[in-house]
Amino acid sequence: MKAIVNVSLKAGVLDSQGKAVHHALDSLHFEGVKDVRVGKQIILQLDESDKEKAMQDVTKMCEELLANTVIEDYDIELV
């Protein structure tokens, strides 16, 4: 099984990289972009075949290492 973890800054925490990308898109005349948030994606190949167990494990990984929950949110997709 594969777990795709998306980590991004929490809503309300200023995302300077997102702001810079937004500004660059504006200067390229891509109009209609309301907001840009930049995050990172971490892809894990897992041995586990039980979805529930995999979700538990990856949640623990996010809480302990993959995200800093003081400033970041994460979401997990199992495929």
Binding site: V13, S16, Q17, L65, L66, N68, V70, I71
Partner: protein, 225 residues
């Protein structure tokens, strides 16, 4: 006085830190991160600056799981004095020994220059040789120095006197180089035994190299041990 200095792979300020504390008359020892115990006679533990584990994932995120960190956390929880400088500050926030987190600088640039700092709270073992509102000139060199804490956390820092230093101009007026909440450059924990700051006092030990204001800062520890 004995100062133990933690070195992770990628740490690069451990020699400067040794030099600074030796100049003040302290004994020093560099401790490799694979060690599991600290020297028993440690009076001050310094987590030195640099780029532990190449800053991969987040600055300080991987270092917090190094073998030595269990001993660092135990030492801090026992009331031992701990100082984290730059990457060391990032490691201590990741390890939750200090509140808040360090984000990418607001302007996205790596900033390397001298910056003036204002002393906010000198009533602690670190800044005891200085007075509130003193201005010191100390180098900063970081990419992820943008201190973040939520509103409730900031109020707690303020009411407990945990804000050590803020960025200012030469006259002491607030001047923020990296977007830090409340221009914060350094904080301590509630118990006032764990200290962290982004600027490098160990690089300000010789007037001929631009500033020796680091002497007054680090000396506080020598008098408290």
């Amino acid at each position: 006085m004995k100062v133990s200095i933690i070195q992770f792979p990628g740490t690069n300020c451990e020699r400067d830190t040794e030099y600074a504390f030796q100049k003040l008359g302290a004994q020093t020892e560099i401790i490799w991160h694979k060690e599991e115990t600290l020297p028993q006679d440690t009076d001050l533990l310094v987590v030195a600056g640099g780029f532990s584990y190449g800053d991969y994932l987040r600055s300080g995120a991987i270092a917090k799981f190094s073998p030595i960190m269990k001993a660092v956390v135990a030492y801090a929880n026992k009331g031992g004095k701990v100082l984290g400088i730059c990457n060391g500050f990032q490691v201590l926030t990741e390890a939750r020994l200090l509140p808040g987190a360090l984000k990418r600088n607001e302007g996205l640039h790596f900033i390397s220059k001298h910056h003036t700092l204002k002393v906010q709270n000198s009533d602690n073992d670190f800044l005891r040789k200085l007075s509130n509102d003193d201005v010191v000139n100390i180098p900063i060199a970081h990419h992820d120095g943008n201190y973040y804490i939520d509103d409730a956390g900031l109020q707690e820092l303020q009411s407990n006197g945990q804000i050590l230093l803020t960025y200012c101009d030469a006259q002491g007026n607030e001047s923020n180089p990296n977007g830090s909440v409340a221009s914060i450059a350094g904080v301590c924990n509630k118990e006032k035994n764990v200290f962290g700051l982004m600027p490098h006092p160990e690089r300000a030990m010789e007037a001929i190299l631009g500033s020796d204001d680091g002497v007054k800062m680090l000396q506080g520890f020598l008098e408290s041990c």
